[in-house]
């Protein structure tokens, strides 16, 4: 076959091209080498050996994109779409959580040690935000009680306090977010020991995406979402009721208990109905988010209007 000389790439250009290609490829390889270890230990990595738990509601699951693209994570922005972008700055590895306070054996565990405490379960829970929207998520983790039992709480321990990671350099300041950081939450000891309370490390088969509270969070499905604290670094057993972030910010609007309750309105809006993301019509909100059979006895004899 004859190729006209005009179509032959001059050697000079050819060398130039291959040099460029070489530079680009080596750059890509270098970037890959930097990113890959993070991918292996970081968020969005498939979790193996997950067993399906019987804790699962029949509601249709909310799509992955919605669960990971519509988040309240005020450390990374106060609008719903910001955390998905800004939380990429969250350093999730190495990660440790210290368990301390009214305990016999305080401990600090790294993430690997936490993951090995119990088999990982997939639980499909309803998740109801105090703002009036809800989602259904296949979380991965195990009962919070598993980790709490590691440290042997003393008889003085009546409450458990939780604290989120906070890094001024990569997160919003308290002034911008309008709430105090680090974010703190708390549960009564019997609430924390309830099998439904989940120590969560993943969702949809993979480790937690940063914006969902990587690498370790709480999921307390019968309470409003803000009780399910994200990116936990400290767990502290206490004798007295611990302070909680939203209660500190607006005591008249957010109580310590914050159980989902359609009969007790938020002072500024009704809690009777909710918008399940992806649905057009609003649906009625269920008391204790539909988990009343399991948790209502925790609150026997309590005026839920007062202890809201």
């Amino acid at each position: 076959m004859q190729i006209p000389y005009s179509q032959v790439t001059p050697q000079r250009d050819y060398l130039e091209l291959s040099r460029r290609r070489f530079i680009f490829r080596s750059m890509a390889a270098a970037a890959g080498a930097l990113v890959l270890p993070q991918l292996l230990t970081g968020s969005g990595v498939k979790l193996n050996g997950v067993v399906k738990s019987s804790y699962r509601v029949d509601d249709k699951m909310t799509p992955y994109d919605v669960v990971t693209g519509y988040n309240n994570f005020y450390e990374f922005g106060t609008s719903k779409d910001q955390p998905a972008k800004l939380a990429q700055k969250l350093q999730t590895s190495p990660w440790t959580v210290s368990i301390e306070g009214e305990v016999v054996k305080p401990r600090t565990l790294d993430l690997d040690q936490v993951m090995k405490l119990a088999p990982l379960e997939e639980r499909v829970y309803r998740h109801r935000c105090v703002e009036g929207w809800s989602i259904v998520v296949p979380w991965i983790g195990f009962s919070l009680s598993t980790i709490l039992k590691q440290v042997e709480p003393t008889s003085k321990a009546k409450y458990v306090a939780f604290q989120s990671s906070y890094d001024k350099k990569t997160m919003l300041g308290s002034f911008q977010a309008g709430i105090e950081f680090p974010y703190v939450e708390g549960l009564r000891l019997d609430e924390a020991m309830h099998p439904l309370a989940l120590l969560c490390v993943g969702l949809y088969g993979e480790s937690l995406p940063n914006q969902n509270g990587a690498p370790l969070r709480l999921v307390v499905p019968w309470k409003y979402g803000f009780k399910s604290i994200k990116s936990v670094v400290k767990i502290r057993f206490m004798e007295k009721q611990p302070p909680t972030t939203w209660n500190l910010s607006a005591p008249s609007e957010y109580g310590f208990y914050s159980n989902v309750n359609p009969e007790v309105d938020h002072p500024r809006w009704s809690q009777a109905k909710e918008r399940r993301l992806g649905e057009f019509l609003k649906r009625p909100t269920l008391k204790f988010n539909g988990y009343g059979d399991q948790v209502a006895t925790l609150y026997n004899g309590m005026d839920l209007r007062r202890y809201n």
Partner: protein, 216 residues
């Protein structure tokens, strides 16, 4: 040149189309099903934001005319005000339709019980007579002075809008505070001009000889 652009009929058409842009963009995104995880919230927020923005734009016309020396801007004021009412109506419609599904009982109890809804609803209600009397015929019927007095209700609509927004956010008040600061400066300007005129009038009464000499 600038004057010719400001007084051209085509400029008015261009401004009109620009004012429609937010609702066209929303419609386009809705058509493409690109309104995010919570479309109804997005529509509610977008229409609310634009109501407040158009209210502030309307209120900015007078200070801009006087400070920047472009009196021709008056041609756009009615249109901007009507767009504020238009977006406010869309905002109300989203609430009535997508949030309450035309449940009158629920809406009434909301308006009675929830201060932020009461204030927002009140602010929009105040805009209704302004929209109705925005025509030249109504200015004639009411007389310029009374018409102007009535249309000062927009100050209260603006205040209601900012308070509505401020009461609705959970904790991050930066945006409502920014709208509030803008509104207060626009209203403050008017107060300042009013006080200056009053002072001038008082001085004129106190020293009539000077006035007489000037007018002589």
């Amino acid at each position: 040149m600038a004057t010719r652009i400001l007084t051209s009929r085509w400029t008015k058409v261009a401004v009109f189309l620009a004012c429609l842009q937010p609702v066209v963009a929303l419609g386009w995104r809705a058509w493409r099903q690109d309104l995010g995880a919570n479309p109804l919230e997005l529509i509610t927020h977008a229409t609310g934001d634009w109501t407040l923005r158009f209210l502030l734009l309307t209120l900015a016309v007078t200070p801009l005319r006087e400070l920047a020396g472009v009196p021709q801007l008056i041609r756009f004021r009615r249109m901007l005000g009507l767009f504020a009412f238009f977006y406010g109506s869309l905002h109300l419609l989203t609430y009535v339709w997508f949030d309450k599904f035309f449940d009158v009982h629920e809406m009434l109890s909301d308006i009675a019980k929830r201060p932020f809804i009461t204030v927002g609803f009140g602010g929009l209600l105040l805009m209704l007579p302004l929209a109705v009397t925005s025509t030249a015929g109504w200015i004639r019927r009411l007389g310029g002075r009374r018409w102007q007095l009535l249309h000062r209700l927009i100050y209260f609509s603006g205040l209601a809008g900012v308070i509505h927004y401020y009461w609705l956010v959970k904790s991050d008040i930066r945006l409502p505070a920014a709208y509030g600061a803008l509104l207060l400066s626009l209203l403050g300007y008017r107060l300042f001009v009013f006080a200056a005129k009053k002072r001038a009038a008082v001085q004129a009464i106190a020293r009539p000889d000077r006035q007489a000499r000037v007018s002589a």
